[in-house]
């Protein structure tokens, strides 16, 4: 920093970018170079263009992005805090149902906006409750995995028997396996001031060279939320708190003996993961204008584990990329064959790329740089001070 004008220097654009990169980069994340961010911008540009170029494809892609949030939540909880939650879908489902109940009872834009918050908080709240009893009760490792899996199956059993009229909350009937239809169209805002309907509101825009295209606002809302969640988690895992989570993942007892409240750190991470899964569930229900207990089924509970395993659990970006890729594959194949393909993908990943695809690619790039620089530093992760 120039000694003569530190204030002016700290306000300059390069200094601001450097500060931003300091927050986003560190040893706990893959992609700490300028080229990574160039690639990130290009991929983002492609994602922005997808519904415009391939008119009408935004609807399906928005589902992939919604599920990307769910994958991201598991990547954070499992990849960074070392908590393999096999029941991220319970927070997803509870978020979705909470959104449904609140939005049906308060179908105004203000009510629906509140329902988004309620669904997210419900996911986080359930994770906090479950996490409190697990972590402060001394439950660790595979037992956490079992308890979370059982939680989602318990939710499935419970929701499956809610078909009767007695299972109605205000105007919202839970509906058992028939699900909960009748949600209002996803409209955010404050009644009387401003509001915007995000689903079933595709409208045509004219783009030079491309002609008339369909614009899907829901897709872009989800894209913004996904990118914000990804960048937010990058900042978080590169902060002191993120370092503690990684330390807990590596050696819980050692970290405890450095004076850290390991249970509290795991609870915070698990709650954040639950909140993200809840938000994903909210968007899932909002997109489909419907929710049913199938979101608690074993097959669906397995999918986030597959996404994150394939992409690389220690890579937030890998989780999102794998979610989109696996879901695209699943949709393309369809039916029972998709099940076989997803299972095979998981097996292949565990056998040949146990760390996942993205960390493997990152390792290859790092090694090729090392060879290219003939033994010089491969340009590994920059040291970051978040002070």
């Amino acid at each position: 920093m120039a000694a003569e004008s530190p204030a002016a220097d700290s306000r300059s654009a390069p200094a601001a970018i450097a500060r931003l990169r300091n927050r986003l980069e560190g040893p706990n994340t893959i992609g700490n170079s300028r080229w990574f961010w160039v690639g990130f911008a290009l991929v983002l540009a492609v994602l922005v263009a997808i519904p415009i170029v391939g008119s009408g494809t935004g609807g399906q892609f928005s589902l992939f992005l919604v599920l990307g949030l769910l994958g991201l939540s598991l990547s954070f909880v499992w990849g960074y805090a070392g908590i393999l939650s096999f029941g991220q879908t319970v927070f997803f489902g509870v978020g979705a149902y909470t959104f449904g109940v609140v939005s049906i009872n308060f179908p105004s834009p203000t009510g629906i906006t509140g329902a988004v918050v309620a669904g997210t908080v419900a996911g986080a709240g359930l994770a906090a409750l479950l996490g409190y009893f697990m972590f402060y009760g001394g439950v660790r490792d595979v037992y956490v995995t079992i308890i979370t899996l059982v939680s989602t199956l318990v939710a499935l059993t419970f929701m499956a028997q809610t078909a009767g009229s007695e299972w109605t909350i205000g105007e919202a009937a839970l509906g058992g396996f028939n699900g909960m239809p009748g949600m209002p169209l996803f409209t955010l805002g404050i009644e009387g001031l401003f509001s915007f309907q995000f689903v079933y509101n595709e409208y045509e825009v004219f783009i030079p060279l491309l002609g008339t295209r369909v614009f899907d606002p829901f897709y872009y809302l989800v894209l913004v939320l996904l990118v914000a969640a990804y960048l937010g988690l990058r900042v978080l895992v590169n902060m002191d708190f993120g370092r503690v989570l990684v330390a807990i993942r590596e050696d819980e007892d050692r970290t405890m003996m450095f004076g850290y409240d390991v249970e509290r750190a795991k609870l915070v991470a698990f709650t954040i993961g639950g909140g993200l899964a809840g938000l994903s569930g909210v968007l899932y229900a909002a997109r489909n204008v419907y929710i049913d207990p199938s979101v608690f089924e074993l097959y669906f509970a397995t999918l986030p584990v597959v996404w994150v395993s394939v992409g690389g659990r220690k890579s937030l970006l890998g989780a999102v990329a794998a979610t989109i890729a696996v879901e695209y594959l699943r949709l393309s194949l369809g039916g029972e064959f998709a099940l076989v393909a997803v299972g095979a993908l998981l097996l292949l990943s565990i056998l040949f790329l146990p760390g996942g695809v993205v960390p493997w690619v990152d390792g290859k790039i790092a090694r090729s740089r090392l060879v290219a620089s003939d033994g010089d530093s491969p340009g590994g992760p920059a040291e970051v001070s978040d002070s």
Binding site: P27, V246, A247, E250, D253, M256, M257, F258
Partner: protein, 272 residues
């Protein structure tokens, strides 16, 4: 790190040590266990252990395998909870405190197997304990000092898993010492090390003890190493204190030799 004086009048758990009660004076007793018992099912790992360490003392714990040495250390750190009995630190009962709370009182530990974080760099490892109480330039200065003290200058960006066993031991001692404890527990710090590495660790421990006043409890089987560093030696046998004294007294005690050689008729215990 301990700060008992301001709390003593308020804390109902403050108590005098046995020595204080006997003499009517306060002593420098830093740690005391009071009839500490740990059982695993039907097996008693520590059996009513009354053990104390003075501030600034360098104590070595020896004993045959299964004598209860590691169990005693874990009871002191809180990573194991006692079946019965109490642990007092700096005059306050800490029996029910979580391990991290005991660390904040001034107890730190280096595990038997080097427990550095293999996937993290040396710098990241060293930073982890320090980031709790130092920021910015002060943090970086302390981190570098910890790395230098471990003899790892120039290895800052190396993955800890690539370090030798001895370097990992040094790094972990640095990390534990960087918490500025009053009591540092080391579980077999020179196991598997070469003669040179062993000498470096001995030098490190005595330097920390004499220059920074850190009290040590060191579990070690190597009696030459114990003779090199210890102020006082405690022999554990079958979960209880068998002998205490200088290394000369311990080494010349035929009963101690018998339990180590397994010729003592009571020495067939097994345990933790």
């Amino acid at each position: 790190m301990s700060d008992s004086t301001s709390q003593e009048s308020l804390d109902p758990n403050v108590r005098q040590t046995a020595a204080e009660i006997a003499t009517g004076d306060r002593t420098d007793t830093l740690l005391q266990t009071d009839e500490l018992v740990k059982t695993f099912g039907g097996f008693t790992a520590t059996d009513s252990v009354d053990f104390s360490v003075e501030a600034g003392e360098l104590r070595c714990l020896i004993g045959p395998n299964g004598a209860g040495k590691s169990t005693l250390l874990k009871l002191i750190t809180g990573t194991l909870s006692a079946t019965d009995g109490s642990v007092y630190y700096d005059g306050h009962e800490i029996t029910e405190l979580a391990p991290n709370e005991r660390v904040s009182r001034g107890i730190s530990m280096k595990f038997q197997v080097p427990s550095v974080y293999g996937d993290l760099s040396v710098r990241e490892n060293a930073r982890l304990p320090i980031q709790q109480f130092a920021d910015g330039d002060e943090r970086e200065r302390r981190v570098q000092a910890a790395i230098d003290a471990a003899g790892l200058t120039g290895h800052e960006d190396d993955e800890a898993s690539t370090l030798s066993h001895g370097q990992q031991q040094q790094l972990e001692i640095s990390m534990a010492a960087s918490l500025e404890p009053d009591l540092l527990l080391l579980d077999e710090p020179v196991a598997g090390l070469s003669v040179d590495e062993r000498a470096e660790i001995a030098d490190r421990i005595t330097t920390l003890n004499r220059e920074e006043g850190i009290a040590f409890i060191v579990i070690e089987h190597d009696t030459d190493f114990v003779a090199e560093i210890a102020d006082k030696v405690t022999v554990l046998h079958k979960g209880d204190i068998f002998r205490e004294g200088s290394i000369e007294e311990i080494e010349s005690d035929p009963a101690v030799k018998r339990i180590y050689l397994g010729t003592d008729e009571d020495s067939g215990g097994d345990g933790q």
